[in-house]
Amino acid sequence: MRKTLYFRLTAVLLLMLTLTSFKSKPNQTDERQPTLKLPYREAGLSEREAAAHLLDRFAFGARPGEVERVVKMGLERWIEMQLHASLPSPKLTEKLAPLKTLTMSSAEMLATYPNPGVLLAQAYRDGIISQSDTAKENRAELRRKIMDYYQKEGVRPQRELISELRAQKILRAVYSENQLEEVLTDFWFNHFNVSITNNKAKGYVLLYERDAIRPNALGKFRDLLGATAKHPAMLLYLDNAQSSAPEGAPTTLTQSLQRYQRNPLIAQRLEAAIAAQKMEIQALQNELPDIIKQLRPKRGINENYARELMELHTLGVDGGYTQKDVVEVARALTGWSVYPRGRRAEKLRERLERGKLLGVIQEGDFLFRPDAHDAGEKHILGTVFPAGGGKEEGERVLDMLAAHPATAKFIATKLARRFVCDTPPPSLIERLATTFLQTGGDIKAMMRVMVQSPEFWSKEARRAKIKSPFELVVSALRALDADVTNTRELLRWIEKQGQPLYACQAPTGYADRAEFWVNTGALIARMNFGLHLALGHIKGVKFDLLALNQYHEPESIEEALKTYAALLMPERDLSETLRLLTPLVQNPNFVEKISTSLPAASAKPADMPERVEGLPFESDFIREFLHEEPVAGQETAPILTSKEITLASVVGIILGSPEFQRK
């Protein structure tokens, strides 16, 4: 009997597997693409100017000599290589090597960097720490106990993970040869935003970017959508993991059980097995601390993800869906949840393994829970999804949304805004949207259409975008050919300009418009950043200004201004900048002899809001454990000669100038 059931279920599963593998399209092998036709000459740009523009948009700005290299290689070929994104980046590989988290499996990562709240609760449950430890006077002792516990359990504080996550973003943007891949990773992460300010999602954010975003950044939109929809970071950030069919509603599980009702023996056995399982799960849950149990949400759908899926990820706010559609999509996605990792979830994982016979589906960290999936019929955007669709139903919903004309238009608009200008011309949006629909959301194809559009090269588009804080910092590092050995202070500077990395709390991501970045506080931070960087007062960053000019020392300060402005902003019209700055540097004050400079300003650790949920400790206390340690190896700021200070100041002014904020 048992055997028959087993075979039947396996057969169904196998069939489903075969079906899905047919549906997921094989990766497009490199078909010969017709040579790109780039209409930059029509827009009045020289080849060098076009290369500089391309480096501003398809890359994080030009490195020294890069305009020449792109011209030599041919712009068309450079673009194809960027689209292919498989250039070796030895420098980057070397820089990323010490960051051990980047290559961890998700099981390893979650076991090593558990949520601090959960860990503390566990320590509390294990009797390692008690409430009397939290008294102010016992803090040092408590700290020691917890550190010992961390060591004993072999776990590390999550801040280490976040610090590596943030470091790799800067390093990749500065050093990767596959620049477009990084630009698009930044773009798509922001489009499908999740945030480390959400404690549940925090430990998954690195995996999310690495496994869901980057591999699909130049792929198909549907793959991106599916990867984000099923990733724990998104499932937790927008609460889908806890969305389930309401109490008493038919679920995939109850349905599949009903199917076997006709055979009383099977039914009986199944019921017994389920009852046993329920009891065991109950027992497992009883082990959880009271506080977590109390916070356990009730059964029922949670609309958050379904709403943002349509409003922010696909159709756009005016995409023609209703609140009814939101509810129906949420129902279709009930049961889309997170596979439990972590060391103490072993028993639970065993149960789930057995549950696969009853419709539990695990794909990496994604878990489909048949007991939580609402098995009823749904009506979404005018389409009927018949009852009993199971996990595949959610996939069909994603198919439908990914192929929708409103999605095509929405994604086309956002890409055009990122790559061309804040209010992109409708003609370009139209063309990109058409490409999206014709190619099934092929991002490469859209990028090819983008660079072959006159709008991309037009006069209106050149220097029209204001760099985001991240882009500003990275483009400055690239322009200076800087050696970045520590990113801690750079991160503070990006944060001061208004873009704490991976910490945009709203699911909208950061707005990709100038007025979002240009405000009084941020602008002053940008100028300060330019001066601090140029004068060597950002720890962990080194560069050689004279090397940029092949060790030709400028003969005069005017000469320095002219030379370095052109080096840092190649192929730009710098007449305005030079006209305004020349009289200034000619002022005798500017070259006053000064032989020393003040010590470096140490950026204070910012007061990142830490929100810790479900644990028996106040959050201030947790914060103590999350604080970053100071940058190791206290390097002092370089002592510069007055000549060097003068040159550095000139460079600082260039980096803080209005022109350098533009791209």
Binding site: Q294, F516, A601, E618, A648
Partner: protein, 410 residues
């Protein structure tokens, strides 16, 4: 090492900055209204802050945490109205309550039942409970309603990262420390001056309009702050701020207000209200947070005395806590809490709102003080009446509730 950076712009200030002239327009500066908000992160235990001491159930829910009724012991609650008592650590606020400029609203919270800090703070700050995708914060939408021409200091948060409340299209400043605001060169003075002049010339004349306008404003703002001499600020009327992050934030807000730089919306944070463990009674975590909050608010109110008619101060917190104390001498995440509203036009000296008898059947999910007033009803009343804004839908999209009467009509 004294100061690590040097303020750059050493040029004197000639007349009123352009942005202020524009912002003020025809209105007299002394009539601009100011809203000061304090977010108590972590979820303040409203039942401990303002306790219905006559309710016979309270002692049963909280054998260790309930404080004795007013005038019964040295550690007793402070009498408010014969029904509610104020936690003694809030003592500095009592005179304001007695002068009838401080009101308390009890039973305030979000209609969404989540007990997650993240979600509930998010909902309170966006002003759209249940909707996470709202791109902007309610204070930013308020800022937009105050008109186009604004000072760069119109909306200021004394935080290092802009709070969700101020996300949005209207410009908003996050300044953890006024003394750090300005151009800083790590180099030496002459270079610093030169660099400052360089930037000013560049931004004043750049052809990119947005950079030019904001750039000009930035330099004007820097000069203004320089004139303030923020490091040597002396509070007036003998106000003594607690030496705490909140004390420092409110002190700097007072400074900006008194400098008439065009502040209309100010935001400060008070952390550490998540008292799961050892909440304490008259001593302990809660008392320490409460004392800090009360001392800071009382000092602020004293310091801005000549400006009081223009200011309303309001506290908020994402949720209250469980009515029952837990096994570790604390309370867990709950539903409704209370908030304080301070101002000369406030219907003060009263505990507003509805707190039902604390029998289990009256509680939300049988455990928490129920939300009887939507926080939007209070926020809309305070911001709306104070600034004369009628359109609640602009501040709280999708909300069709009624304002909670709290401010006297003018």
């Amino acid at each position: 090492m004294k100061s690590s950076g040097l303020a750059l712009v050493a040029i004197g200030l000639g007349g009123t900055p352009k942005f202020l002239k524009r912002a003020l327009g025809a209105t007299v500066p002394h009539q601009r209204k100011i809203l000061v908000t304090i977010f108590q992160r972590g979820g303040m235990d409203g039942m401990m802050a303002v306790a219905p001491y006559t309710d016979k159930h309270l002692q049963a829910w909280r054998p260790c945490l309930a404080l004795p009724a007013p005038n019964t012991s040295a550690e007793a609650l402070l009498e408010l109205d014969g029904y509610f008592g104020l936690h003694p650590a809030f003592q500095p606020l009592l005179p304001l309550f007695e002068q009838k400029c401080l009101a308390i609203v009890h039973g305030v919270g979000s209609p969404e039942p989540t007990r997650s800090h993240f979600d509930q703070q998010d909902y309170m700050e966006t002003g759209t409970p249940g909707k996470k995708g709202t791109p902007d914060g309610w204070l930013n939408r308020l800022s937009k309603k105050l008109g186009k021409e604004a000072s760069p200091f119109r909306a200021v948060a004394m935080t290092s990262v802009l709070p969700r409340s101020l996300y949005g299209e209207a410009p908003a400043l996050a300044i953890p420390n006024l003394a750090d605001f300005g151009l800083k060169a790590p180099g030496t003075m002459p270079i610093a001056i030169a660099a400052g002049q360089g930037f000013e010339a560049l931004y004043e004349q750049t052809s990119q309009q947005m950079l030019r306008e904001v750039g000009q404003e930035s330099f004007e703002a820097i000069k203004l702050l320089q004139k303030l001499d923020v490091r040597n600020y002396r509070p007036q009327q003998g106000a003594e701020y607690p030496r705490s992050p909140l004390g420092n934030s409110l002190k700097q807000i007072a400074q900006l207000i008194k400098a008439d730089v065009g502040v209309e919306i100010a935001f400060a944070e008070s952390n550490g209200w998540d008292t799961h463990v050892q909440q304490g009674t008259t001593r302990g975590l809660f008392a320490q947070r409460a004392r800090d909050l009360a001392l800071a608010i009382a000092a602020f109110w004293k310091d801005v005395e000549p400006y009081q008619d223009r200011i309303v101060l309001m506290t908020m917190t994402e949720f209250g806590r469980t009515l029952a104390e837990n096994g570790s001498g604390g309370t867990d995440h709950g539903r409704a809490s209370c908030l304080f509203v301070l101002g000369t036009a406030v219907d003060g000296g009263k505990v507003h709102g509805k707190v039902p008898p604390l029998a289990v059947e009256n509680l939300e999910d049988g455990r928490d003080l129920p939300v009887t007033t939507d926080f939007r009803a209070v926020f809309a009343e305070v911001a709306g009446k104070h600034f004369g804004i009628e359109d609640d839908g602009a501040l709280f999209p999708g909300w069709a509730g009624k304002r909670f009467p709290l401010l006297k009509s003018k």
